[in-house]
């Protein structure tokens, strides 16, 4: 690491804060994901420090730090704030150079981003203010079904005949799940149905933004194979899921920090 400049990106989302440290070649040196909690500034700082520790560098070693996510303006260490649309586009394109669109499903927001042939943002759509089609929807359902969030993916794939979840509203969908349980439907089929419901909700945004493949999926929900498979079926094309979909926005922010530093 001798003499090489370091950059960091921090993405303070509604559910989790993510940080990524990179070197000037754009390689990830360390990353972290922690719950955002009630103090966004504190979460950002702790997250950046943890990622620095994992990268094996001092917490103040970054030449430039870009903050993103809905808590972006609260990050004390930021050189500047950039929206998650731009950061996800930047990070996604760097990880998957063919990408012409990004489908991001986070804790509170879902986004459909169309990219031009250079990877610039062409159009985007975001979900309306409610939790339908977001990670929060899955969290509520996982809690209701007493399934670990990370286990939802496996259970969804095990479901053989997904139940129909017709409500888009999280609260109404919750009562629908309860009726399915009352009818003794297999839990795996219910989970598969929930994943399909999220995918079809987000597919509305995908259509509105007129996305075309190749697609990359980012955000925490991309870790759920059930949702990815359902989205692939709707899109009629395979979706690239990066190794760490949750940190793509933070990675994009780190790359923008590097670009900023190079041009300043």
């Amino acid at each position: 690491m001798s003499g090489d400049r370091l950059y960091a990106g921090v993405d303070v989302g509604s559910a989790t804060a993510k940080a990524v440290w990179i070197n000037s070649a754009g390689e990830t040196l360390g990353s972290s994901v922690i719950p955002s909690g009630g103090n966004l500034a504190d979460a950002a700082t702790r997250c950046l420090r943890l990622a620095a520790e994992r990268a094996g560098c001092a917490p103040d070693a970054a030449a430039c730090i870009v903050a993103t996510g809905y808590g972006r303006e609260r990050v004390p260490e930021r050189s500047r704030a950039v929206t998650e649309i731009t950061c996800h586009a930047r990070g996604a394109r760097a990880l998957f150079s063919e990408a012409r669109c990004v489908i991001d499903i986070g804790g509170q927001d879902s986004k459909a981003i169309a990219l031009d042939d250079q990877g610039r943002v062409l159009r985007f759509e975001m979900n309306d203010k409610c939790a339908a089609g977001t990670g929060r929807f899955l969290e509520v359902m996982a809690h209701l079904l007493e399934i670990d969030l990370d286990d939802l993916s496996r259970r969804a794939l095990a479901g053989t005949s997904p139940v129909a979840i017709s409500s888009t509203c999280t609260v109404f969908a919750e009562s629908e799940v309860i009726s399915h349980l009352a009818q003794n439907q297999p839990v795996d089929d219910i989970v598969a149905g929930l994943c399909r419901s999220i995918a079809s909700r987000v597919y509305g945004l995908v259509s509105r933004a007129r996305l075309t493949p190749p697609a990359i999926m980012t955000g925490g929900v991309a870790r759920n194979q059930g949702v990815v498979k359902a989205m692939e079926a709707l899109l009629g094309s395979p979706i690239h899921v990066p190794e760490s979909p949750q940190t793509v926005g933070a990675y994009g922010a780190a790359l923008i920090a590097r670009d900023d530093n190079a041009s300043s």
Binding site: V82, R120, D128
Partner: protein
Amino acid sequence: MDLSQWIAPFEKVTGDYYAYAREAAERGRKVAGYMCSYAPQELLYAAGYLPVRILGRIGETNRADELLQAFSCSFARSVLDSALEGEWPFLSLVMFSHTCDTMQNVADLWRAHTPGTEVLIVSVPSRTDSEAAVRYYTAELERIRKALEKQCGPIPDEKINEALSLYREHREAMRELYGLHAANPGRLTGAQMMHVNLAAFLMDRAEHLEGVRNLIAAFNAAGAQEPDGRPRVFVAGSMCRHTAFIEFMEAAGCRVVGDDLCVGSRSYAFADADGDTPLEAIARAYLARTPCPAFHHSTRQPGDALVEAVRRDKAQGVIFLLTSFCDPAAFDHVPMTQALEKAGIPALTLSVEQHREPPEQLRTRVAAFVEMLQGSATP
């Protein structure tokens, strides 16, 4: 040169939405409320009223929610709520235009729930480009004139002609101000321009004109403003009661250089017309306007005038402030966005509640749109 001192008189008026009209009423002047820019303000002015445009209130609308369905727009709710809360006790009359079913029903509710206030409904022809429309609207204005005369005595033709001249001069001055603003963005903020616009609906037209002329003189004296490279954005839609919507756009790093709002440039983008009578002149001038979404022209497509205005103001992108549940605006929004796309102009649509603070997520969308425009500017 800072122009804030020339904006201050307008901000003072918009700062307390009711004060100007209330004080005028206390001095003995009759005050007439109106809802829509198609209400014949010249006629009200000629009759001696202070015409005041009712744009509703910022805040909760609990009283109106008792009477209106959940799918009524926020403009209708806030307008009705201000009446139910008794915020307009000094109005001699209220004039509605038949723009949509929701506002027609708000007129009836206003009549039912605020006894003592005369409620007039002007029926503006929805197809604007025919001689039949001119005859119909002229006859409608005759009917309104008679109704006003019952309250305030005869309205001589020369009074109407005087009002027509004043309103024409005011429109010309506002167009000049818009031109200066578009050529020198940053000299005034978009929000300051919105204060000038909103004040026009509250103040006596002659007094507002004087303020606008002072502002134009100061603007000219200040000389040209160097461009600062921020993306130039044009705001489309209809209402913008709350300047916070413009403020948060500019806080995201753009310059709002022009608008196609019914509370903005659309009120000024038309010329006088000739007529056999002053009322026919009003009818012809109003009907020759680029129709707002509540009205239709048989050959002009919604969107053509928008693309033209965006190009004139050299804007790089358009942000729509679409009032949630406004069906007429939603219908026109489709051909408008198609026309923009055909012209290669990026657009962002925000579905908004007019009487609330802009929610955080809208800030993110606007900031991302501004970043997108900046990205498209770099090679």
